[in-house]
């Protein structure tokens, strides 16, 4: 796939940055003229990925979160969220719906939502090293009346 545009940023795992991260990604994705539904799906998926870093990767510390967004082939948004936190022992288990180690404040639906709202979800993790989540969503071409 050919990269036609991209950006990278790094921010701290503070919960105030959840809304910041999803807003930045939505602004960048806007160049593909997505529908409100597509934009909503992307924002939701970013929110889930960043929240996972804050809640699970860095439970007792503040760490760094790296976000990279690429436009591929002129129609696909690829979002990479990377942390350097505690990692996930069993990725398959973590991806199961309703599974959570976050207590009753969390629903255990984060990965399920990323999976169902995006076309592709890749989760790579090493305990003690960190986790990388890569998501892709193709933006449908619209017969827009501009």
């Amino acid at each position: 796939m050919t990269e036609t545009n991209s950006f990278k940023m790094e921010f701290l795992s503070r919960s105030a940055n959840e809304s910041f991260a999803r807003a930045v990604v939505a602004c960048f994705a806007a160049q593909l003229d997505p529908t409100l539904e597509e934009l909503g799906d992307i924002k939701t998926a970013v929110s889930e990925a960043v929240t996972n870093c804050i809640v699970h990767a860095y439970p007792d510390t503040i760490g760094k979160i790296r976000l990279r967004v690429r436009i591929l082939d002129g129609d696909t948004v690829e979002i990479t969220v990377k942390d350097f936190g505690c990692g996930i022992e069993d990725v398959a288990k973590a991806r199961q719906p309703m599974f959570t180690t976050g207590g009753e404040e969390r629903s255990g639906m984060g990965f399920t939502i990323m999976e169902s709202f995006m076309d592709k979800l890749i989760v790579r993790s090493k305990p003690g090293k960190g986790t990388t989540v890569v998501m892709r969503r193709k933006i449908q071409r619209r017969e827009s009346a501009k």
């Binding site: 919960s15 809304s19 909503g40 924002k43 929110s47 889930e48 404040e105 984060g110």
Partner: protein
């Protein structure tokens, strides 16, 4: 996230305004619990008219409101759901146990 509520004839209506994510959820959960415990409603209505965004943290909030209201013998409904919050709740199957009012009588 702003939360306010009214209580009338056994019905507790909780209004949400803003974005409901993990950052906002802890405070939202606490306020919902407090209001349900204080009023013991026959019905709790979560009014999402002013809600502009919700992620899976909102699922935990709805589930919590459901459990707490059930404990005091009441029912939970959700109303004025925008398309984005609705997709999130649908993904979690929340509509199987919570009544979603599609066209409210009063807005």
């Amino acid at each position: 996230m702003n939360i306010r509520s009214t209580f009338e004839d056994g019905r507790l209506t909780i209004y949400f305004e803003g974005e409901l994510d993990h950052h906002a959820a802890r405070d939202a959960l606490r306020q919902i619990e407090e209001r349900i415990d204080a009023t013991c409603p026959r019905e709790t209505v979560l009014d999402f008219k002013g809600l502009t965004f919700m992620d899976s943290s909102g699922i935990a909030v709805v589930v919590k409101a459901y459990k707490r209201t059930s404990q005091v013998g009441g029912k939970l409904s959700v109303t004025n759901l925008g398309p984005q919050p609705r997709r999130v709740l649908q993904a979690a199957g929340v509509e199987r146990f919570v009544r979603v009012i599609v066209t409210p009588k009063e807005v």
